[in-house]
Amino acid sequence: MNSPETLRIRSEEQAARLPALLARAEHLAGAVLLGAHGRRRAGVGDDFWQYRPAQVGDSRRSIDHRRSAMGDHEFVREREWQIAQSVMLWVDQGASMRFASTAALDQKADRARLLGLALAVLLRRGGERVGLTGSALPPRSGRPQILRLAEALCQDDAADYAPPEHRAMIPQARAVFISDFMGDLAGVATALTKAADRGVRGVLLHVLDPSEEAFPFTGRTIFESVGGTLRHETLKANDLKHRYLERLAERKAELQQLCALTGWQYGLHHTDSTAQSALLWLYGALDTRSGGAA
């Protein structure tokens, strides 16, 4: 299930169902890297965009004589400015993600990796550059990058709750954080504010197991974190339900608040719903909300 090969195959399956996604950048200037799309189209910036009447200041060389010969005016042929966007992924590898309440459900980590890689496949198909946050795997294009991503995503972190990696953010890039956000929210806040400082916008995808939403426990119970570092004993688990749910709602509200402040988007996904819906949402979040069609 967790080997790079199977993860990649499943990601490809997920990605195959969506049209190519072209990530939009709000700030063209900073993050533009020309020529990225040349792989799929002839020449860098060679695509026809429009003819416009020649203006003062246009060099003579830029006049398109074929078009101009059809009439009395001189026309300049403009080409499309083609761009590639860098997208950085952070998928929580913490031990708390390796949890599924029943055998029928995916582990949260599984689902997060799947979504992350599916998104990466989509983005690569659109010609974008995908990588991980931090310096381990900077955004690159091309198929081998998917393989490298799959491999990197399959590594497990021993710590219970991993804070988001916020170093080496490329300015004006996009970022996607996928996690259960059960750990300290200070790390998330730091990462988001730092990202906002660099003009990086992105998406938070909050992945939760249904049992974390429902808290269906009764009786005398000792709760342990998956990594075993935290422990809480109660004599009546059902008494805790209400307060637990309150805290969870607080946490969600806090995350949304953070997103609103930094211009990120917040999404909630449960492992008992389909991965497709989450991917669709990610598609929407990265594509349409960022302004303009692909």
Partner: protein, 920 residues
């Protein structure tokens, strides 16, 4: 053992442990349930949350109660409770003698008696007593052994089909007196017999006596008699108690030869009477089939009565020469014979040609000299097949030349011409009387009345064989009755007339007795000693105490007088006895037997056999305890939340454990029908042999693929058909491999198969044995095929002719190899009038599809491909083998084409010839 309220305890001190239950209650109540450890990522959110109250959930009262119940059941179970505990009845330590009546009267209740015996032995074993057995019907000196050794002998005790005789009692008393002191347990059959009191006294001299005797009535049945067209059956009982109805069954062989109940008749004992009678009227044919009567629900020799000649009325055909003398009844040649036979035989009148087809037992020819050739031949055949021809002499025979120079086949002796007359008005001598019958004669022992005289007779020629053939002679030694064996039958000649003209014999009672001895008539009035005087009877089949007949083996013969009179015993076992042609059934109970109930002195304790079994309850209670503990496991788990979402599954598992695997065989018929009919599908019969079925499936898959590639037939995946369950009508063809061990389909399945065959289906039988049997029974598969196909509606078959349409429905083939390359393939025989038309290359054969094709080439193996399309079984060698596989595929294609197109191809092949002729 301590007894509380009907339940005994082997270890009553264990019950004190019950006092600990309340303490256990308190302890269990105080201890909270163990916590569950759960992995839960959300624990980070729980940190710092404290419980509202510091007391955990208490164990609920019902769970405590469950546990208490489990522990209580455990304690009580260990205390060894026994339901219906039995006090030691015969206290004592010395040897114990078990006396059995062992007569037929106890046969019906023999199993109960054996159980009671076993209980006695168990008790004796517990007390460490030695046990000896004494059976009064077969007294032998008992050997006192340990009770366990005695137990192994129990199976050997069988009731005898007689009552203890006085001699047996004497012997038993003798044996008892030689033994030392002992206690006695006497299992009585409930019938009185002579000498029982003496026996009891002898036993009481040795020690205490205890009697076990069933309270139920003993039933017996007297021999059946035939009177006025009905069989009279008499049932007797020992105790004249309340009104009681019994059913009498007449057992016999049905026309198929199986023993079954042919008729039943109820009989009712009036209150206070010991005898009940019933009359049963049956057709002669049915009556002749009855071999025994028994009482429903009784299984003893006494309640069974065997049937002999008394019920079997012989059919006698009477034929006389002179039929035209009206009104002279007393002069009719048949009058006296009719009188003698009418009460005991069924008479048939008519011409010989009419009588013979009725196959009577006896034909009487009264003074008929010659028979036509057309009559003589069938008559001879009839005699050789076991018929008895009885001829009477008379003026015609005396006047004819019959059997004069050479012996006529229908005459036992040669005759002198003219006969002789003695004691008449014109002769010198006095009428002759009869000589005493010789020992070899069937009439030996009959008393000859003084007044039987013979005044005229036909006289036998002296011959070397004559003395052997004479069975009755006159006082001067001239033969009166002669007899000759012919084949299985015999010819008997009375040298006098059947009327009173020549002798007074027909007027005497001797005549009737002679008829009986010759088994021409059968006595209707039971056996009488005088009548059987001097005869010896061989036992054919004898009854045991249960009334079961078995072959008599080498038992010695019995004197006739004893057979009638003497009580049954080891030397005269009840059964069927034979002497010559006659059969006599000797039954246990005869007409005048009375059954008396056994009565015992007041000082002898009498117990019934129906003792209530001791029933140890420990096992049940311990099981209950375990079940309760299991329930406690489930309940505890569900309480502590560990069964959270799996409670349904756990319940299911528990239910499955309790109810066992249920049949998940409810295949939705619709889905099967849809599968089978969505596309054309080949099918095979599931044989139950996994490897054969797998091969059939793979074979038909290969054939389906081949059809798909090469023809416009595009079958879906093959389907295995269960003949018992599945509908067959969906399949154009069934492949049926034969395995020797496959079960025979039920009748319903055969009905379905026949419907299938009649409505155009086809079955390809494959014996898979390379036809080594040639469809004889030489191979197990061949035998199995014959067995399986016997109930099928299969037309006549023939080896596939060279111009059968199967040779050219798709490919032109003459060989039909599979894994083997045997040649013969059997199909429906062509119509006998199929002829080759001039100019046609083929006969017009087989208008329809042959309903079966039978071969033994194991085609499935040749066709078989694995799911990835590779052949599964190597065929032949090298290229020749591949060629053989190819031919096998071609045969399969041809076969399916034949099934689907019928004789269409047969017509099509004629087209060139037709065109050719049209062109001319």
């Amino acid at each position: 053992m301590t007894v509380f309220g009907g339940i005994g305890f082997t270890a009553p001190w264990m019950l004190l442990a019950l006092l600990a239950l309340p303490i256990l209650w308190l302890i269990l109540r105080a201890v909270p349930p163990a916590p569950i450890r759960r992995r839960f990522p959300g624990v980070a959110l729980l940190l710092g949350l404290s419980d509202a109250e510091s007391v955990s959930d208490r164990t609920p009262w019902w769970l405590l109660f469950l546990r208490m119940l489990a522990v209580a059941a455990l304690i009580i179970g260990l205390a060894g409770p026994i339901l219906n505990p039995q006090e030691e009845q015969t206290q004592g330590t010395g040897p114990l003698l078990i006396v059995l009546d062992g007569s037929w009267a106890g046969a019906t209740r023999w199993p109960q008696q054996t159980e009671a015996l076993e209980a006695q032995l168990t008790r004796a074993a517990r007390a460490g007593r030695t046990v000896g057995f004494l059976t009064l019907t077969r007294p032998e000196a008992p050997a006192f052994q340990s009770a366990d050794a005695g137990r192994s002998r129990l199976a050997g005790f069988k009731p005898a089909p007689w009552q203890p005789a006085p001699t047996d009692i004497d012997r038993a008393i003798e044996i008892t007196n030689t033994l030392g002191g002992f206690d006695t347990v006497w299992f009585s059959d409930g019938l009185a017999y002579d000498g029982r009191d003496a026996m009891l006294e002898a036993l009481q001299n040795q020690g205490s006596v205890e009697v076990y005797q069933t309270g139920a009535d003993v039933l017996a049945m007297a021999p059946a008699t035939y009177e006025d067209g009905a069989i009279t059956l008499t049932v007797k009982r020992a105790l004249p108690t309340a009104e009681r109805a019994v059913t009498i069954n007449a057992q016999g062989r049905d026309p198929a030869g199986n023993m079954r109940t042919l008729a039943s008749v109820p009989a009712t004992f009036e209150a206070g009477s010991t005898q009940a009678t019933a009359a049963l009227s049956l057709p002669a044919e049915l009556r002749a089939r009855i071999t025994r009567f028994d009482i429903a629900g009784q299984r003893s020799a006494g309640a069974t009565t065997l049937v002999d000649d008394a019920l079997r009325r012989r059919e006698v055909g009477l034929i006389a020469g002179r039929e035209n003398r009206e009104g002279l009844e007393l002069l009719s040649p048949l009058h006296y014979i009719e009188q003698a036979l009418a009460p005991a035989a069924d008479l048939i009148d008519g011409a010989l040609g009419d009588v013979l087809p009725a196959n009577p037992d006896v034909i009487v020819l009264a003074d008929i000299a010659t028979l036509s050739e057309a009559e003589q031949a069938p008559l001879l055949d009839w005699i050789e097949a076991g018929g008895m021809l009885v001829r009477f002499a008379g003026p015609r025979i005396a006047a004819s030349d019959i059997s004069r120079d050479t012996e006529d086949p229908l005459m036992p002796v040669r005759l002198r011409s003219g006969g002789r007359s003695v004691g008449g008005a014109m002769s010198w001598g006095a009428p002759k009387t009869l000589d005493a019958f010789r020992e070899t004669s069937p009439f030996f022992g009959l008393e000859i009345p003084e007044d039987v005289t013979v005044s005229a007779q036909v006289v036998a020629q002296p011959d070397p064989t004559l003395s052997d053939r004479v069975i009755a002679a006159l006082s001067d030694g001239t033969p009166l009755v002669t007899r000759k064996q012919l084949g299985q039958g015999q010819i008997i000649l009375f040298h006098v007339t059947a009327t009173a003209e020549w002798s007074t014999l027909p007027l005497s009672g001797l005549f009737v007795q002679m008829m009986e001895r010759l088994a021409i008539s059968s006595s209707s009035a039971g056996i009488e000693a005088s009548e059987l005087q001097g005869t010896t009877w061989t036992p054919l089949r004898v009854m045991d105490g249960f009334g079961t007949l078995s072959d008599a083996g080498t038992l010695p013969g019995v004197d006739g007088a004893d057979l009638a009179d003497a009580p049954a015993g080891p030397n005269l076992q009840p059964g069927v006895y034979a002497s010559g042609e006659r059969r006599i059934a000797r039954n246990v109970v005869v007409a005048d037997t009375t059954l008396g109930p056994a009565t015992w002195p007041a000082d002898v304790p009498v117990r019934g056999l129906d003792v209530v079994d001791e029933r140890p309850l420990a096992g049940w209670l311990l099981s209950l305890s375990i079940l309760l503990l299991l329930a406690d496991v489930v309940a505890s788990l569900s309480l502590s939340g560990r069964l959270l979402k799996h409670s349904n599954a756990a319940g299911l598992i528990l239910a499955a454990l309790i109810y066992g695997p249920t049949q998940a065989d409810a295949q939705a018929d619709d889905s099967f029908a849809l599968n089978a009919t969505a596309e054309m599908t080949l099918a095979y019969v599931v044989t139950g042999n996994a490897s054969v079925d797998e091969m059939s499936d793979a074979g038909l898959r290969g054939l389906s693929d081949t059809l798909y590639f090469r023809t416009s037939v595009e079958p879906a995946n093959p389907i295995g058909v269960n003949l018992e369950r599945d509908e067959l009508a969906f399949f154009p063809m069934l492949y049926w491999p034969i395995t020797p061990e496959q079960p025979r389909p039920s009748d319903a399945a055969y009905t379905k198969l026949n419907t299938y065959l009649r409505s155009g289906g086809m079955i390809l039988f494959d014996t898979r044995d390379a036809n080594i049997a040639g469809f004889g029974a030489a191979s197990p598969n061949g035998r199995k095929l014959q067995d399986l196909a016997a109930p099928l509606d299969i037309p006549p078959l023939e080896p596939l002719p060279a111009d059968h349409v199967l040779t050219r429905t798709f490919y032109l083939l003459q060989d039909f190899p599979g894994r083997h390359s045997g040649r013969d393939l059997w199909v429906e025989a062509s119509a006998p009038d199929a002829e080759q038309v001039e100019g046609m290359p083929f006969r017009n054969l087989n208008d329809g599809v042959s309903p079966v094709v039978i071969g033994g080439n194991d085609w499935a193996a040749a066709w078989a491909v694995s799911p990835n399309g590779a052949p599964m079984v190597p065929i032949g060698r090298g290229f020749a083998g591949e060629r053989q596989r190819e031919l096998a595929y071609r045969f399969g294609v041809n076969l399916v084409m034949h099934v689907l197109t019928g004789n269409y191809k047969s017509d099509q092949v004629h087209v060139p010839a037709l065109l050719d002729r049209l062109g001319q």
